[in-house]
């Protein structure tokens, strides 16, 4: 009986107290025609040892290659202490801190997290996390519609250079509320949205503008201009940023006169790739619109004797109180991932995070230099990029990636299916974990693969 402590004697005594003949009797309020005796397709249980063997076999099928894929999830060094501490039972097996007195550990940590991420983004306030970067964008859009009282249109302009999965997610989540998401095309030579592209919206009622930095292609856009355009047209500005990159790039709170909402994917801050989750989404905003923010928010206060303590606050926004009028349906968020991220940020500090960002920048630029030495490989776009870069290859990407896979290399992400105008487009990323030897090895193997395929 896995994890069930009852002895025969316990069962007998407990049933006697209840006055039931058998455990089965406890289910007798359930109509008999609904009750079942067995389930199909459920194998017999396993001991922990057999389970270890089963899972080791499964894990061995996921061969680890040398990974040059980014596209929304980034391989970074994670200090051992991060998950040693986050994995402590007191953090891992607690729930939402409803009983503040018995949850000061989680609550203080979340307050520290809010401080760190808000400061990193140059914003005044942050919530305690959302599910992931893409769903955080959806929530940011919903929030903007509530917060921008000057706009009635519920029209959101999104830079076409945003991660296509973010666009899909935002659409799926917001469309039923009458919000229209309109894509502003990016420049096909520069790979970024230029402020000129907004000219067609000059006299329209726009609720918010979504600005990624760096964008899906790794390209840096003129975010100051785009933010200023949004504000000149009474639209809110929503930034979607990478938290590692922000250590070197201008923080969204300083873009022009400062964006209104910042969101993004927290995974780079100490969360393993782990097939896509659990990660966490971050969401920061100006203090004036904090009441429109979804999700848990922690505040500092005092107890009945004047001691400092931390508690969930502004709960009247939330579903458990406000029900159908809540700012969002979100309840559980990504507490454990945020715990890890907080410890990660504490270990790295701002100087450390800057070094990580610089190393990523340097490695990707060196990789681009090596790869564009290969015959027929060119940079897709002119201009500045951060730790990802889009290459154009002289042949079919899938075939090349397949070939690289055989050599133990995960050679990047094929972007062409999402953007048919970008032919044979390969998105590559080299973070700080890649050595010079790794980069050279990739370059050699890519040259070989192109030779084979072309």
């Amino acid at each position: 009986m896995p994890y069930i402590p009852h002895t025969d004697n316990d069962i007998k005594n407990m049933l006697a107290v209840i006055g039931a003949d058998s455990i089965n009797d406890l289910f007798n309020e359930i109509p008999a025609e609904l009750r079942i005796d067995t389930l199909k397709n459920i194998p017999d249980g396993l001991g922990e040892m057999q389970t270890n063997q089963l899972m080791q076999e499964k894990a061995s099928l996921d061969k680890r290659g040398l990974c040059f894929i980014g596209a929304g999830a980034y391989e970074h060094h994670i200090p051992a202490a991060v998950w040693e501490i986050a994995g402590r039972g007191e953090f891992m097996t607690a729930y939402t801190p409803y009983q503040a007195e018995a949850s000061q550990g989680t609550l203080q940590l979340l307050y520290e997290y809010q401080t760190m991420i808000a400061s990193l983004m140059g914003m005044e306030v942050s919530n305690a996390s959302l599910y992931d970067g893409a769903s955080a964008l959806a929530e940011a859009v919903l929030m903007a519609v509530r917060a921008n009282r000057k706009s009635k249109s519920k029209r959101i302009l999104v830079a076409g250079s945003i991660h296509p999965h973010y666009l899909d997610t935002a659409n799926a989540i917001v469309h039923a509320q009458g919000i229209s998401i309109e894509v502003v095309p990016f420049c096909n030579t520069q790979g970024k949205v230029l402020v000129e592209a907004f000219a067609t919206y000059e006299n329209e009622d726009i609720t918010a503008v979504v600005i990624p930095q760096p964008n899906f292609f790794g390209v840096l856009a003129d975010v100051n201009q785009l933010t200023a355009w949004a504000h000149q047209h009474n639209a809110l500005a929503i930034a979607v940023v990478n938290p590692t990159a922000v250590a070197l790039l201008k923080e969204p709170g300083q873009w022009a006169d400062g964006v209104d909402i910042v969101c993004g994917e927290g995974q780079p801050l100490g969360i393993p790739l782990s097939s896509g989750g659990p990660y966490f989404g971050f969401l920061c905003c100006k203090k004036t619109i904090v009441r429109q923010m979804p999700g848990r928010i922690i505040g500092r206060t005092v107890d009945s004797e004047g001691l400092t303590g931390y508690t969930l606050t502004l709960q009247a926004r939330e579903q458990h109180i406000r029900r159908s009028k809540a700012t969002s349906n979100i309840c559980t968020n990504q507490g454990l991932a945020v715990t890890a991220a907080t410890i990660y940020m504490s270990l790295l500090g701002f100087e450390g995070l800057k070094k990580v960002a610089r190393a990523c920048y340097a490695n990707t630029h060196q990789l681009a230099a090596l790869l564009t030495n290969i015959d027929g490989v060119t940079l897709m776009f002119q201009g500045h990029y951060f730790h990802e870069v889009l290459l154009q290859l002289p042949c079919d990407i899938d075939a090349v990636l397949d070939n690289l896979c055989e050599q133990g290399i995960q050679g990047g992400f094929n972007v062409s299916p999402y953007f048919p105008q970008l032919e044979n487009a390969l998105l590559v990323c080299a973070t700080e974990v890649k050595t010079e030897k790794d980069l050279q090895h990739f370059a050699n193997q890519l040259e070989f693969a192109i030779h084979q395929v072309a």
Partner: protein, 483 residues
């Protein structure tokens, strides 16, 4: 003390950052950062010690009995966690080639199959990242179904007054109006009230069964008939699935769509407020609308199903495939439990709840539904004590903390005054339940003889009751760097 207050300029865990050669940063000045962010400046030991000490200020399943109703705080097996943290799983990029992902995909596929079987549904999508996102996905599918049939007049979702707050909030996110149905005195839905409420405007109903009142609605088949005859669909909130695992299937009750809470029923860690995971299962007619990605098996190999394969899908709910690592944990847990283990989870969760319920009633506590058997949870109401002794449910909850037990859920469901919703789960031993009963009796005595002891509790924790009003009026949400 905050980690920032322990910081010293220039101090860092230098070992953890990469060495960098002097590279030229070719980024225009106006796009570069010029100010510092306030992150801690601490040594590795200081960080480790600070967060270890913070962890010790938490109650958790690993350290305390945690009978938080509706949250299924059962033991989170260490073995499961350890296996899910194997490097091969952690290092897998979500966009890794299929050839190098067959291990993970097979786990996800097998879990889809097992969850379909457990729920009596046709197909399962694992991607929703929490119960609330599962609810959103479920209602969005109901909407897509009606729209697909050009049945566009349906604009209402019926929700019981006892429902989780996420239910009405999710329905609104899907563009629906919420119509609340009151609960009958026996805890069941009144069929006549329901009949009067449904019509051509009814898109569906969202229910939990056993309900949040801790009782099984025996009229569920009749409820399903009324809703289906009105042209609506039934949504099952899986928060209480642990009560009926392997005993009853939502599909057999007549539900068209449900979500699971993997962090409740399938023992994945609650993490101090997530990550959760809320897979959705549907009957045949809602299958085309399931959120993507899902996993399919073709000729002994696994691949992702995306919007291309499922053109009517409600779409994508996250950047990749949701809380993949939680899905993995639930899979491992299911393999350990197996068929017999699943039956037993529900049986012993129910045994523990009924034992606690009976003992507390015998000790003089008032049950909200004394005529009913408990499901895996039940409600005690302290309305009488609040009136006669001036001791509220909140006071009792706080006093329990002094005795080293986490409080049950308080003041939910909203329709029962001064309530405690108690869910012991199957993994607690009889001695731990007996201890809980003893201290509940002791607290009731204290309430009679020394009520102030209870109304000012807790007395033994790092802090006393907090000033929530100050917290909300004078918002202090980030440490003021200048201080």
């Amino acid at each position: 003390m905050l980690i920032f207050e322990k910081s010293q300029t220039q101090r860092q865990a230098a070992l953890q950052a990469p060495d960098i050669v002097d590279t030229v940063l070719d980024i225009p000045k106006e796009l570069q950062r010029s100010s510092k962010a306030v992150l801690p400046e601490a040594s590795e030991l200081q960080t480790v010690r600070h967060y270890t000490q913070l962890s010790q200020k938490n109650f958790s399943i690993d350290t305390q009995f945690y009978p938080l109703g509706s949250c299924t705080m059962k033991y989170n097996p260490r073995g499961v966690h350890k296996l899910a943290m194997m490097p091969d799983f952690l290092k897998r990029h979500p966009l890794a080639p299929l050839k190098q992902s067959q291990g993970y995909l097979s786990c996800a596929y097998e879990l889809q199959q097992m969850l379909a079987s457990i729920s009596g549904m046709s197909t399962v999508s694992l991607t929703p990242m929490a119960g609330a996102q599962g609810e959103f996905a479920g209602v969005a599918m109901i909407r897509a179904y009606h729209e697909d049939r050009k049945d566009n007049a349906r604009n209402e979702i019926i929700v019981p007054d006892a429902a989780h707050g996420t239910n009405p909030a999710s329905a609104v996110m899907c563009g629906y109006k919420v119509k609340e149905i009151p609960t009958g005195a026996d805890g069941n839905i009144n069929l006549n009230t329901l009949k009067a409420m449904v019509g051509p405007q009814t898109a569906g109903i969202m229910l939990t069964n056993p309900s949040t009142l801790g009782v099984f609605d025996q009229n569920i088949k009749a409820v399903a008939k009324i809703i289906h005859e009105a042209g609506g669909l039934l949504y099952y909130d899986g928060a209480n699935l642990n009560a009926i695992l392997g005993k009853v299937r939502p599909g057999d009750m007549g539900f068209d769509v449900l979500h699971f809470n993997l962090h409740k029923t399938f023992a994945t860690p609650h993490g101090g407020g997530g990550p959760g995971c809320g897979p959705v299962g549907v009957s045949e007619r809602l299958k085309p609308y399931l959120p993507t990605p899902m996993v399919t098996k073709e000729n002994d190999s696994y691949r992702w199903l995306t919007k291309k394969d499922c053109p009517k899908s409600i779409g994508r709910l996250s950047c990749f495939m949701g809380n993949a690592g939680i899905i993995l944990r639930a899979y491992i847990y299911c393999r350990i439990l197996g068929l017999q283990g699943m039956h037993r989870a529900a049986e012993f969760a129910t045994l523990n709840a009924n034992y606690l319920q009976t003992r507390l009633q015998q000790a003089g506590f008032t049950l909200a539904y004394p005529e009913r058997k408990a499901s895996h949870e039940f409600i005690v109401t302290l309305a009488k004590e609040a009136k006669t002794l001036g001791v509220t449910a909140m006071d009792v909850a706080k006093r329990l903390l002094d005795y080293g037990v986490h409080a049950p859920t308080t003041y939910f469901p909203l329709l029962i005054p001064e309530c405690l919703l108690i869910e012991p789960t199957e993994t607690e031993a009889k001695e731990d339940l007996d201890y809980f009963i003893d201290i509940m009796i002791e607290i009731l005595n204290e309430a009679k003889t020394n009520p102030e002891l209870v109304t000012t509790a807790p007395h033994t924790l790092p802090i006393k009751r907090l000033d929530d009003v100050k917290a909300a009026r004078e918002l202090d949400l980030t440490w003021n760097f200048g201080e």
